[in-house]
């Protein structure tokens, strides 16, 4: 109990750190994921190949390896001195984007064929069909898997703590190095993650209910 009360600022910083890393990389993953899903169903072969390669590569790489890439290779390519937060967001966002892409793609597959056919027959182009007809309808089926993906992302963000980011894992490491009983720290950290994951799944359930329309 005392660990939490005495170190409330640290816990708060960690909590906010986890939240901000999760939010930033979720946004990145969402944008990239939808883009890559678009690539994967596009009529242009190299883009399709790029999308397939992207998903295959990122889904089969351990997240920790991506963090190594982000922290040791990316600074050499771009400018050095990028903040750990940015690099962690890049690694997490790229990793999660492959899962988002697959969710969006299977969402696209569930939209009845007639919709795309109707869109095409009134002369819509591929981009119009996707943007105006398919994706809005796919949203409904994509929301539940997205919720699980973002919960997984929240948990994955712990890896960022091992790469000099301030978040919950980092805080637990810091406090246990200072000699506090690890059991209590674990309980409080677990509670913090439970709060975040409950919030995400509640939010998505709300979203799901809002989007629920009789088909």
């Amino acid at each position: 109990m005392n660990v939490l009360l005495d170190h409330l600022p640290e816990f708060r910083d960690g909590f906010l750190g986890t939240l901000s890393i999760t939010a930033a990389s979720a946004a990145l993953a969402l944008v990239l994921g939808i883009l890559i899903a678009g690539f994967r169903v596009s009529p242009i072969p190299p883009l399709r190949a790029f999308g397939t390669g992207w998903v295959m590569l990122l889904r089969n790489t351990p997240l920790t390896l991506l963090f190594l890439v982000a922290f040791f290779v990316v600074p050499q390519i771009l400018f050095p001195g990028t903040s750990p937060f940015m690099l962690a967001t890049l690694a997490l966002g790229f990793y999660t984007s492959s899962f988002v892409c697959e969710a969006v793609r299977s969402g696209i597959n569930t939209v009845p064929l007639g919709q795309a056919e109707a869109a095409r027959s009134i002369g819509m182009t591929f981009l119009q069909t996707l943007r105006l007809i398919i994706l809005p309808q796919a949203t409904r089926t994509v929301v539940p898997p997205l919720s699980s993906i973002f919960i997984a992302l929240t948990k994955n963000s712990a890896v960022a703590g091992a790469f000099s980011n301030t978040e919950l894992f980092n805080i637990s490491k810091l406090l246990s190095d200072r000699g506090f009983a690890i059991g209590w720290i674990f309980l409080w950290i677990a509670l913090a993650y439970l709060i975040i994951t409950f919030a995400i799944s509640g939010l998505f359930r709300l979203l799901e209910r809002r989007l629920e329309v009789a088909r």
């Binding site: 697959e102 597959n109 569930t110 069909t129 919960i151 948990k155 894992f169």
Partner: protein, 311 residues
Amino acid sequence: MSSSSVLYDAPGPKTRVRNRIYTVAGSLAVLGALVFVVLRLNDKGQFAPEMWNIFNNAGVRTNIRDGVLMTLQAFAVGAVLSLVLGVLLAVGRLSDHKPVRWFATGFIELFRAVPLLITIYVLWVLFLANRGTLGFSGEGTQFWALVIGLTVYNGSVQAEVLRAGINAVPKGQSEAAYALGMRKAQVMLTVLVPQAVRSMLPTIISQLVVTLKDTSLGYVITYQELLFAIRQMAGNITVNEENPYVPMIIVGGAIYVAMCLLLSALANWIERRGRRAKTGIDVAGAGEPVTAADALEVADPVPGGPAGRQN
């Protein structure tokens, strides 16, 4: 009919020309990005022949081999234990005894909600503190922290997968078994679990791929697996006053991707085989890793909608 062909018409002459332009532009953009990356890294000397010559060094090779072996060792023990724990927890969660059910449910929910890294780290700290009483020496501490962390997390996930599988077995099966006079344990172990395992095998293997990837978290607790070996060598070796991060990461990444793809291929093969068989309940689609499984509720992991084909 594949979805991709529905989204656009068969190209006419104009579209074909336009698509060709996009093709060229798209390829150029991707290639351009690649060339930029390669050039920048080349400037840093990451593609110098000497940089790659390090892999001719016997010590480097031995380190990589040892790393792979350590990874596989942790994976093998963790996978077996997590499957055992998964069966136990799944059966426990479906038990008729309330305390058992509550315990299993609480265990599953807790360890699925907490990031694996934190579980592993906490176990490591605990094990380090009680090294004497537990009788660990040297690498043992990290190894068991990693393996038990992997076991409790993946065991919880596998339990949910199995539970979904058990619930998907038609009710007539257990009713028939009870009618034959079987006891609860017999019904569960000889009728329900085998069918659940068979139908969920692709999902179980997808989760094993996740287990394999998660062994890399051992890096954080200084377990000397592949990633740790790579990182350490990259940090220690200097060629032309640069650390060989890029060659090391490319080689290590390739090994990881190859291992994971092999396991995924196994899952896909089993899925195809299962689909051929006409008996029993349907085999779940592969490539629906329950990694992402909700920490709070199990929206049944048996993929209902058309699963995106895995590549």
